[in-house]
Subunit: 226 residues, 2 copies
């Protein structure tokens, strides 16, 4: 997973670090020393600095002048604010998609849900996190993204991507574990159903419900960091 002993380009490092942050490879408040990262990725300090700057603009890393970069220390209150914004964007995006989405949108959404459902059942029955978590993260993202993908606004999608990642980062650093909850399976199902039934208000309620439950129960997760 960590590109070691191999020259890495700026884009490589960016993608891997972003992935790492959103998947919980780092601790909250952890300092990201360019010297250390430079060794791990086998590249120059400038490349690392560049990547960290990009991540800090994404809100995934904190930058303080002359003091370097750190994984943000997100409080529960911060996460609530982030959740509120995500609810706002996702409900709006879903409502617009429900209004404008064609058969293509329905098909994509159904497919994304199918994949998500598959990996979630696997996680529930086996309890094996490990590399499955990476798959789950990708699937969860794809589902929520599909839901709003027909909203007709690239800008809304861009903002949502940003908020989604920050929500996930906050959740992971706060609960110090994985963000998968068994209850999420039914919640995703309910969101899908409301969307396919073209009921924007119900869909909004289900989205809010889903995100809020993530916030309420993050500390009862039975799964711990590897």
């Amino acid at each position: 997973m960590e590109p070691d002993r191999q020259h890495s380009t700026s884009a490589d490092v960016y993608d891997d670090m972003r992935q790492g942050l959103v998947i919980g490879r780092f601790d909250a408040g952890e300092k990201l020393r360019s010297e250390i990262l430079r060794e791990q990725y086998d590249c120059s300090a400038s490349t690392i600095r560049e990547v960290l700057f990009r991540l800090s603009c994404d809100g995934l890393v904190n930058f303080i002048d002359q003091k370097g970069f750190r994984v943000p220390h997100i409080t529960l209150d911060d996460l609530r604010e982030i959740a509120e914004m995500r609810i706002m964007l996702e409900c709006e995006g879903a409502a617009r998609s429900i209004e404008h989405g064609d058969i293509h949108w329905e098909a994509g959404l159904t497919a994304a849900h199918h994949k998500l459902r598959h990996i979630e059942h696997k996680l529930r029955t086996t309890g094996q996190m490990g590399s499955n978590v990476t798959v789950w993260c990708a699937a969860e993202w794809e589902f929520h993204r599909s839901l709003i993908s027909a909203c007709g606004s690239e800008f809304l999608l861009e903002l949502h991507r940003n908020v989604y990642d920050r929500f996930r980062l906050g959740l992971l650093t706060l609960m110090k574990g994985y963000a998968f909850r068994e209850k999420g399976i039914e919640e995703h199902e309910a969101i899908l159903q409301a969307a396919l039934d073209r009921d924007p208000d119900l869909c909004a309620r289900k989205i809010r419900d889903h995100l809020m439950k993530n916030l309420e129960e993050p500390f009862v997760s039975q799964y711990v960091k590897p």
Copy 2:
């Protein structure tokens, strides 16, 4: 205004370029060559690169791998999307501020409006743009920011800052001139009134009205670029 013949720090360059972008110093689609900028600001290419990356994360500059940086070419449709998002965030922020804002919020908002009103009357009577535009830009930002400042969510404020800047950049590059409209004076007044009257719905309508008028009339402005 341009720090020439003087060593510039990363922060200096960032602030100046951001200002320049939001004030219309650059053309849409214009390429931002690091070599040229390096000379203007008298610093190294890395410093320029770093600044451009930060600006690209703010959405104020486009970055394409191996192809460098450009001022984004924002279409009218893009601007409409940005406006919709700004309306969404600003209405939500205003509603929350109206609900939670104390006397301090009212005082700050009134003060910001007073300053804005002053410069807008000056612009209307003298018609002198020049350096006044910089003052007006700052005042307009302060007013809209004050409006939502008591919303209780740092995250909402951060998103709004981003969207506000991109709206302004889009408006300027599209109309190739200044974004000041005389009608804006009354629109700002109406927003202030609705906020002080603690009427969130009316306030939302006035905000939408204000931003939409900006979109409808950007091409009739009698003012041109210097």
